[in-house]
Amino acid sequence: MSGIVLPRRQLIARAGGLVAAAGALPLLSGCDAINEAPAVRKILSMGEEMHRASQRALTDRDALAREFTRADLSPVFRPNGTRLPEGEAYATHAARGFADWRVAVTGLLARPLSLSMADIRAMPQRSQITRHDCVEGWSAIGEWTGVQLSRVLAAAGLKDSARYIVFRCADRIGDADYYESCDLVDALHPQTILAWALNRQLLPIANGAPLRLRIERQLGYKHAKYLTGLEAVASLDGIGAGKGGYWEDRVDYEWYAGI
């Protein structure tokens, strides 16, 4: 308690003379203590599970995200997160136009694959004009072209024990590689594609060249960029910190980002 109830003089000194801030300080530290309490965080995370369960219950597995026309495109499609992966290896790939880029398809599969960009473009393609919603609040509409993830997984022969697909990326943020994951409902959704083109141009580096995920019924941070591998797994335990994604592990972003 003594950490919260401070003599007023001390408070004013601490707030650098800002009386309004000083008066509010004990209350604010109290609120933040509530925010940090593990039991509270556990209760709050029930909200996420309720959103996931209710959306899954109310929504057809294959219900599509809205598709727009070219008249609706954002004039500029804003990139976010990593805009240029660090390191020699990526720079070399970029200089060669990603001719040697490989995407490893591994895990609980009958036939693990290693796909080149040419292999990916040789498969049947899907184009879709969709709205990208960033967790921060902004939206941008772009036209994406790529192969449906369901086709890649079918070619690799997904085993019955697989429950999630993990997406490995070439970009590092701080001390860890970016990664994401989704369940099979979204992995097999018709609009979930591995996209190599944005607005009928090769994907710019800032937007995830040469290949990124589009998972249209979820927020932007799920759309992993700079894809190097897909892994079919039975559980997310033991991958990163076990919460299923880079931001999920670090700051507690929702793993189910449909809301």
């Binding site: 925010n35 959103h51 219900a63 960033c134 939206s139 941008a140 507690d252």
Partner: protein
């Protein structure tokens, strides 16, 4: 000492039934958490747009930002300096911050979009579930018919105008009349329960990419996700405005009696003019 006439015992009426009292206090908490965590979410991208899309390269109709040494709020082409409160302010440790809304107004105090969303998206459930139950009780439990129903005479412009004048002169009803809601109260409570709160929930849901696939018509109703976000923001401030007027009225009408009636249900009728000693 002169003998005072024996005081008339105050007339007490049972004014608020239990569902109203429970819902009122649950809402007080829920809406406070939703507002403060909502301001945190806004801080992640303090710009509002109309239409389907909107990002940094697009024209924002409202923006809170900062220049090198000032904070500002811009609405359309109107811009006001808000240094110290919005866009550029000093936190509890004396450090300059450039987030839109200041730490004392957000949950949590320090910037965390993830935590703001945790609070917002879980308390949204409380708001939606409690509102649904309360609407059902209001409609079928007699609250609407008994307390909120606007009677024919009350719709007369002359009646509404007189009530507005009474409010402006801070002349509050006494005696029997104080036991009932007046026309402005009825309209504002109906507006909050059946218009603004549902609007908050539906504009909130319209921002969910998952729910857009569930019910594409909802986002069309608001003509786009960024419009829904703008309406969500405006409606939140409409609720803040309601709250301010609500508190002012409680203070002016007798805060002890008003707050007590929202806790116990029992309200003491202010004595009518003639009864006053």
């Amino acid at each position: 000492m002169t003998d005072l006439p024996p005081a008339m015992p105050p007339v007490r009426v049972y004014r608020h039934r239990l569902p109203t009292r429970l819902w009122h206090w649950l809402n007080a908490l829920t809406l406070l958490v939703l507002l403060m965590s909502g301001l945190m979410i806004f801080n992640a991208h303090p710009r509002l747009y109309w239409g389907q899309y909107g990002a940094n390269h697009d024209r924002a109709w409202l923006e809170i930002g900062s220049t090198r040494d000032a904070g500002y709020l811009r609405v359309g082409s109107w811009k006001v300096d808000t240094t110290g409160v919005l866009g550029r302010w000093t936190d509890g440790e004396g450090a300059t911050q450039r987030w839109a809304f200041p730490g004392w107004a957000t949950i949590p105090t320090r910037y965390s979009l993830a935590d703001g969303r945790r609070w917002h998206l879980s308390f949204a459930w409380l708001l939606a579930i409690a509102l649904t139950l309360y609407m059902l009780w209001t409609a079928f439990g007699g609250h609407l018919a008994k307390d909120l129903h606007v009677r024919r005479g009350e719709w007369a412009p002359r009646h509404i105008w007189r009530d507005i004048k009474d409010h402006a002169r801070l002349r509050f009803p006494t005696g029997e009349a104080a036991a009932r809601y007046n026309i402005l109260q009825k309209l504002s409570y109906i507006g909050v329960i059946f218009v603004v709160l549902p609007l908050m929930i539906f504009t909130g849901l319209a921002m969910s990419p998952g729910f857009n696939a569930t019910a594409p018509w909802l986002i069309d109703l608001f003509s786009g996700r960024q419009s829904a976000r703008s309406i969500h923001f405006i409606a939140a401030w409409a609720l803040v405005a309601f709250f301010l007027v609500h508190i002012a009225m409680v203070l002016l009408a007798g805060p002890v009696n008003e707050v007590r009636s929202m806790i116990t249900g029992w309200f003491r009728l202010p004595p009518a003019k003639g009864e006053r000693a």
